[in-house]
């Protein structure tokens, strides 16, 4: 049926070459996935370091290590790096790259050279942002609101804007590549409704990437031209409207939130089935809810602007649409939960990450309704309530799933098993550390502590100290995998084809997969998630 491990196993993609050139200029989707994994890990720790400093500084209401200006630069760096250089590329560019061709039975993406180019563009863009950071920082916040960013900011807005602008091309090209790949490279018999839900979700993400990112490009271009050439576009002195900037920015940035979280949904569907050993509950409903979220995501951007001078009527329309988008999200949560029913649930580290995700995502989603409700948002917007809400979704949701995916597919990517116990401990630490960090922030927001505040009224100190304590747990939990995963590269047990006993084409080829993925093109005759696995491709040690 497919390429099983044979007497003389084909060379894996890792052994395809050992020179730097073979890594940096290889068009192999798996190699590029590894390049992304390494580079976004670096960005994650830069952004994380900024977050750590921010939490440290907020231990005291009066500030004790940073000036106001330094603090503002820190949260900008945290936002810019985490949003554009970690969250957006995280799951799609690493796991999407690695898995999509394999999951649909293809040898590579449709445009391998474009894929390599995306990575180089991404790194080049990162250089601009790091440069902005090194030569003195940017103090606009990640939103670059006009007219502050165009006329008043004393930071290095230009290199930062250029960096984000360039990274957009990487996002667009990756999205384009995925869309074409899913349409055109599916193996014989791999119909749309036999695709793993991972592919559906990444496909929906790609649509958002392709349609939303160019609007950001234009917006940043206008900011750039206003700052460099003095061409006012949002300048109130000329009758320009700063709210127009916000419309254009959020037309991109709200859908971008779904670029960040849809891939987490993608991973969830894989994890829940693999560790429940059961067919997913409501396959089509989950598939279509991904597309619905991608589409509806474009209809709600105005909910960021309820108090920004937007029309009240338009605000109400955006509000009701924002409530609507909760429905497909809730459906997914119900279906993942129902997938466990009548299954054989095991609690390996990836599953713990997945269960943690449901908990954090549900809280994040429900608090989203508070800020989508116009009348409530007037008080909550721009406070720590919003900060907590989106960190629950972005960090609690996406980052948990990113780590879940990393643990789940690590054996496939490297051929080695990581030590199980540290993995489980880290999953638990992330969940509880996260709750401790961000739960107090909901209360802070409710009490009226505005976001981006370096100095704050002293009565907020206790809650801020709790939050910082949680952050220190998170710092440890996010760093620990670096060590035990690195250890496993050399000393880990060999993984074999299918260490989890999971379904899916990627578990039918050797770990790490050969350069060509499949010796012969697989012909798919089964539905997605055919649990319990009938003709068991059981986990077995390969005989090397």
């Amino acid at each position: 049926m497919t390429a099983e491990a044979k007497k003389a196993p084909p060379k894996s993609y890792i052994e395809d070459g050992h020179t730097l050139r073979s890594w940096f200029f290889s068009t192999d989707h798996k190699g590029i996935a590894v390049l992304y994994l390494v580079s976004i890990t670096l960005f994650f720790f830069v952004g994380g370091a900024a977050a750590t400093l921010i939490r440290l500084e907020l231990l005291s209401p009066n500030g004790f290590i940073l000036s106001n200006d330094a603090y503002n630069r820190l949260f900008t760096i945290h936002g810019v790096i985490m949003v554009w250089f970690f969250l957006i590329p995280s799951i799609p560019n690493t796991f999407g790259n690695f898995l999509i061709p394999i999951m649909i039975g293809a040898k590579d993406l449709a445009f391998p050279k474009l894929n390599l180019a995306s990575w180089w563009i991404f790194v080049f863009a990162g250089c601009f942002v790091i440069a902005a950071l090194l030569i003195g920082g940017v103090d606009t916040g990640w939103t670059f609101y006009a007219p502050f960013s165009t006329m008043f900011s004393n930071g290095y807005v230009i290199p930062a804007v250029v960096g984000v602008f360039i990274s957009g091309f990487s996002t667009i090209l990756t999205g384009l590549n995925f869309i074409v790949t899913v349409h055109r490279l599916r193996a014989p018999g791999m119909t749309w409704f036999r695709l793993p839900l991972f592919v559906w979700s990444i496909y929906a993400t790609s649509l958002v990437m392709v349609l939303a990112t160019p609007v950001l490009a234009t917006t940043l271009l206008l900011i750039f031209a206003e700052r460099v050439f003095g061409l006012g576009f949002f300048d109130p002195q000329l009758g320009g409207d700063p709210v127009l900037y916000q419309h254009m920015f959020w037309f991109y940035s709200h859908p971008a939130v779904y670029i960040m979280v849809l891939p987490a949904f993608a991973v969830m569907s894989e994890l829940m089935t693999a560790f429940s050993k059961k067919h997913i509950f409501g396959y089509k409903v989950i598939a279509f809810s991904s597309l619905a979220i991608a589409g509806l995501g474009f209809l709600v951007w105005g909910h960021h602007m309820f108090v920004a001078g937007e029309s009240v009527y338009v605000g109400l329309v955006f509000s009701v649409l924002s409530f609507t988008i909760a429905v497909p999200s809730a459906i997914k949560v119900f279906n993942w939960t129902a997938t466990m029913r009548k299954g054989y649930v095991s609690f390996d580290a990836p599953m713990l990450f997945a269960l943690g995700f449901i908990g954090l995502f549900v809280i994040g989603g429900l608090t989203g309704l508070f800020v989508a409700a116009t009348g409530l948002d007037v008080h909550l917007t721009r406070t720590y309530f919003v900060i907590a809400h989106f960190h629950f979704i972005m960090v609690g949701g996406t980052v948990s799933c990113y780590f879940g995916a990393l643990h789940f597919w690590w054996p496939k990517m490297t051929g080695r098993m990581y030590p199980e116990m540290p993995g489980r401990i880290v999953a638990l630490l992330i969940f509880f550390g996260f709750m401790l960090t961000f739960m107090p922030q909901f209360i802070l927001g409710w009490l009226g502590m505005p976001r981006r505040y370096h100095l704050y009224p002293p009565e907020f100190q206790v809650l801020n100290v709790l939050s910082s304590a949680g952050a220190s747990i998170l710092a440890v939990a996010y760093t620990a995998p670096l060590f035990y995963l690195a250890w496993s590269l050399f000393y880990g047990k060999r993984a074999g084809l299918n260490p989890w006993g999971a379904a899916g084409l990627e578990w039918m080829i050797p770990s790490p997969p050969p350069r060509e993925n499949f010796e012969t093109v697989p012909v798919v005759t089964w539905e997605a998630y055919p649990y319990p696995l009938e003709p068991q491709p059981v986990a077995k040690e390969d005989g090397r």
């Binding site: 709210v243 419309h247 037309f251 474009f298």
Partner: protein, 87 residues
Amino acid sequence: MPSRLAFVGVWLVLLALLGISMAVTLLELGPWHAALNMILAAASAVLVVWFDMHLRESSGILKLFATGTIIFLLIMFSFGLADWPTR
């Protein structure tokens, strides 16, 4: 694939639409001329996409993507532009 003559025909229609657009503008038809100009532009664009860009002979999925893009542009314009008149 249409004949060469067909493409020339489309070209003539495009020029005619441009002519009408100019006439509408120069005759000062009042507030309607703006809408009319945009409708004529849309008509020309549809002609170019359908014939010159060969969408007519392309697979359904390409047609779907072309329409989809228009829908998302309409979302941007309708929801975005609704803000100013209702403030």
